[in-house]
């Protein structure tokens, strides 16, 4: 082997090794670390395992928000199905009844959703695309939300 092909070989081996390690890490992480999104209807029909980390999204049902100190209970709806959510903490500034919201957490065996993160978006014009889709599916989509 000439020194040049030898160097090329090292480079290729290095590249292959790095990509191999990266692929292994990515595959392992994709299996465990990906968070799936469900609409309230999906959540009911698809029997998500208790304790599995997921996201749900929809509208915060009008009149459903109950605050007891730092604990907040509310319901997320896609207008056909409703999920009760409990959350401890300071709600995002844009959390509001009737607005789109995404909650991350897991369901317990009584179908209560324990949220560890509430994502209300940075902009009131914005509707999470997942929520928009869920609303479209249930026929409750009221046209464009963006300007």
């Amino acid at each position: 082997m000439t020194p040049k092909t030898k160097r090329r070989l090292y480079m290729v081996l290095l590249g292959v090794a790095a990509l191999g390690v990266a692929t292994a890490l990515v595959l392992a992480a994709l299996k465990d670390q990906i968070v799936y999104f469900y609409s309230p209807t999906d959540l009911q029909s698809k029997h998500v395992a208790v304790g599995r980390h997921i996201r749900i999204g929809g509208l915060v049902e009008d009149g459903s928000v109950l605050k007891e100190g730092a604990v907040v209970n509310f319901r997320i709806t896609d207008t056909t199905t409703t999920v009760t959510v409990t959350y401890t903490g300071v709600l995002p500034d844009l959390f509001r009844e009737g607005q789109g919201v995404v909650a991350e957490g897991s369901v317990d065996k009584d179908n209560l959703f324990h949220a560890d993160t509430i994502l209300a978006k940075h902009d009131e014009k914005y509707m999470p695309p997942e929520v928009a889709d869920a609303l479209k599916k249930s026929g409750q989509w009221k046209g464009e939300t963006r300007q």
Binding site: L14, A22, V26, Y36, K67, G69, H122
Partner: protein, 659 residues
């Protein structure tokens, strides 16, 4: 009138850019000096026209001319002057105009500073730069015209998103764009080099300073954005692997790799094709970032307005520019002369290793960012890829890179001898192990996460290695101090810059590790005069009162922060209610010391005399800011070294010493 004038200037800039993109290219192909010489004055004219356009838009914002649609939608007469000016780029149209402004100014800078550039390279690079201009000016004129008028004009504007009403808006977007767009220079030089079929150390000497400017700006821009998010979003975190964060991080990773591989081209003439490839990829990531953020396919605070037409347009630009240059690369790269040989264990070898790891790291970030889109397109369900994925993939990839990063500068070019370094390396290892043990015992063994010790050991390895290398180079303690001092002064500034930047990375790792491992959080319903204790700190709510800002009202809470009964500070977080648009915003109160931050947020009123409050103890967060600042400072120090060499052709013996 001024607005129409700005619009006209932008159209003129497009015309100039079209000529600048074509004539010098033809001239370079035919070796026609007149046509080639057109490039430089055209670049300057184009920049002046874009500056006029930008000034016209700024004028509309400052005078609150609500007959201009962008101003009406994103400004308000009551807004403080700072945000009227910074608000120019606090929206889609204006931020794109800023993008083009920076692009044009970079082109003009090359035209003005690069008087010594080889004429062929200069003509072609400026022509490529103008092609990018054409694409983006067309984009803004066709889909996002900032000079669009409203008739009749509204009485007042809709106001600016309160989240953006922060001094950070004046700093973060321009810095970030300076970084994004700055990489266009490396791209233009790469394409010009490919067309010419010549990439050599003189080429690398030209590319490096521009890349370095972009890298410094991007480093500061990302850090500034992270800091801004940290104090304004109220959740006590500084990085969430959000798509837009990734969009800025990918070009940073690729740009860092480019910076290092360009130094190999410059010093040794090796890794040429790889460097050209990286230059294309880096700017490709910048464009991809612009696409992801502007198209609205991924949503976040940065997507001002999503419009499928805009997304499609940027995607088309991205495909044309990156696709075209990749095809050019595939055709021309094999014919490029290969450079100097080197053994795997050498400075070049270590740089190549780090390059491969960084590129792989950037690829995994790309995959994680796009995976939700891919999964959605393939009907694999709606997913989100968050911090757990990136932590599990990215951090293991970076660990060997950091290990090699400490040793790389110690290796000699071409072929290195590990034996001569064994004493140093074992010394570094010993210090790292000691640090790991100390951290392990200090956190009470498995009471804290195991990786805290690992992170500290890694940082210690890097910082000790970097410092040790500099000590060896100036022969500190081996000879009289005066001699060492003279050696230190005689060393190239680029070496000091590198050492500072690498040391800064160590500080960033310490900050990330410490703040992730030992963060404390308490959320409660806190009554007046009630005390909450966390990590030895006592926080007492003293009162909440109404407060008025220029365009908002706020509930301002007052807390006493004490430790062991001793008053440390008074903290006053606010919950603000903006008048226009009517929206709330959080203003955290942070007490910073070298050891960490105490971070307090006040939420809604929960009872007659109680509020929901959130208290965080974030250890070592300031170390990240200091470390990142040190990285940027190291870059700036190298830049002052490179200044001698900008435009100095290889053969000119009169100016500057050979590095």
């Amino acid at each position: 009138m001024i607005t129409e004038f700005g619009h006209f200037a932008l159209v003129m800039a497009l015309a100039v850019a079209v000529l600048q993109a074509s004539l010098p290219m033809v001239g370079a192909a035919r070796h026609n000096g007149t046509l080639m010489a057109f490039a430089a004055p055209a670049a300057v004219t184009q920049a002046l026209l874009v500056i006029l356009a930008f000034a016209a838009l700024t004028h509309a914002f400052v005078t609150s001319d609500f007959s201009v649609a962008v101003v009406a939608q994103n400004s308000h007469s009551l807004k403080p002057m700072l945000y009227k000016v910074a608000g120019v780029w606090g929206n889609h149209e204006g931020s794109l105009l800023l993008w083009i402004l920076i692009l044009a100014v970079f082109g003009a800078a090359v035209a003005l500073v690069g008087t010594n550039l080889p004429p062929l390279l200069k003509a072609r690079a400026l022509a490529v730069q103008a092609m990018i201009s054409v694409g983006f000016i067309l984009f803004i004129l066709l889909t996002s015209n900032p000079f669009h008028r409203l008739d009749p004009p509204p009485l007042d504007g809709n106001g600016l998103n309160p989240l953006l009403q922060d001094p950070g808006l004046a700093f973060h977007p321009p810095m970030l764009y300076l970084g994004y767009v700055g990489f266009s220079m490396a791209f233009s030089f790469a394409v010009a080099g490919l067309i010419e079929g010549k990439v050599d150390s003189a080429w690398a000497r030209w590319v490096r300073p521009w890349t370095l400017v972009a890298w410094i700006a991007l480093t500061l821009g990302i850090t500034g954005g992270s800091w801004w998010a940290y104090y304004t979003l109220g959740w006590g975190g500084w990085w969430y692997w959000d798509p837009t964060e990734n969009a800025s991080f990918m070009p940073w990773l690729a740009g860092t790799a480019l910076l290092h591989s360009a130094s190999v081209v410059e010093k040794r003439g090796a890794l040429k094709s790889w460097t050209v490839f990286l230059a294309i990829v880096t700017f490709g990531f910048s464009l991809l970032g612009t696409f992801l953020v502007r198209s609205g396919v991924l949503t976040s605070v940065h997507s001002f307005a999503s419009d499928p037409a805009r997304g499609a347009f940027i995607l088309l630009l991205l495909l044309l520019m990156v696709g075209g240059s990749f095809i050019l690369f595939a055709v021309r790269a094999p014919s490029m002369q290969a450079g100097g040989l080197f053994a795997p264990l050498s400075r070049e070898g270590s740089l190549l290793f780090n390059n491969v790891m960084m590129a792989t790291g950037a690829a995994t970030v790309l995959l994680g960012t796009l995976y939700p889109l891919i999964a959605d397109a393939l009907d694999m369900g709606k997913v989100s890829v968050g911090p757990p994925f990136f932590n599990a993939v990215f951090l293991p990839l970076m660990t060997p890179m950091i290990i090699a990063m400490a040793a790389g500068p110690m290796l000699s070019w071409k072929r290195a001898d590990l034996k001569g370094l064994s004493q140093r390396l074992s010394g570094m290892l010993a210090v790292s192990v000691l640090v790991a043990l100390a951290v392990w015992f200090a956190q009470g063994g498995s009471a804290g996460p195991w990786w805290a010790a690992g992170g500290f050991a890694l940082a210690a390895w890097l910082m000790v290695g970097t410092a040790w290398d500099m000590i060896e180079r100036i022969r500190l303690f081996r000879q009289p101090l005066g001699l060492s001092w003279r050696r230190a002064k005689g060393m190239p500034r680029a070496s000091w810059g590198m050492a500072a930047a690498h040391f800064g990375v160590g500080l960033v790792i310490l900050g990330i590790t410490g703040s992730s491992a030992w963060k404390l959080e308490a959320i409660q319903n806190q009554h007046l005069n009630q005390t909450v204790s966390l990590g030895g700190w006592d926080l007492t709510l003293k009162g909440v009162e109404e407060n008025h800002g220029p365009n908002y009202t706020a509930s301002r809470a007052t807390f006493d922060l004490t430790r062991d009964g001793k008053q440390i500070a008074t903290l006053s977080p606010e919950k603000r209610q903006f008048l226009m648009p009517p929206r709330p915003a959080t203003n955290a109160a942070i007490r910073t010391s070298l050891w960490g931050d105490i971070y307090v947020v006040v939420g809604d009123q929960a009872g007659d005399d109680s509020w929901v409050t959130r208290l965080y103890v974030n250890p070592m967060v300031p170390w990240m800011w200091i470390g990142a600042a040190l990285m940027a400072a190291g870059g700036a120090l190298s830049l002052t070294d490179l200044r001698h060499r900008i435009g100095v052709p290889k053969a000119a013996p009169s100016k500057g010493k050979t590095p």
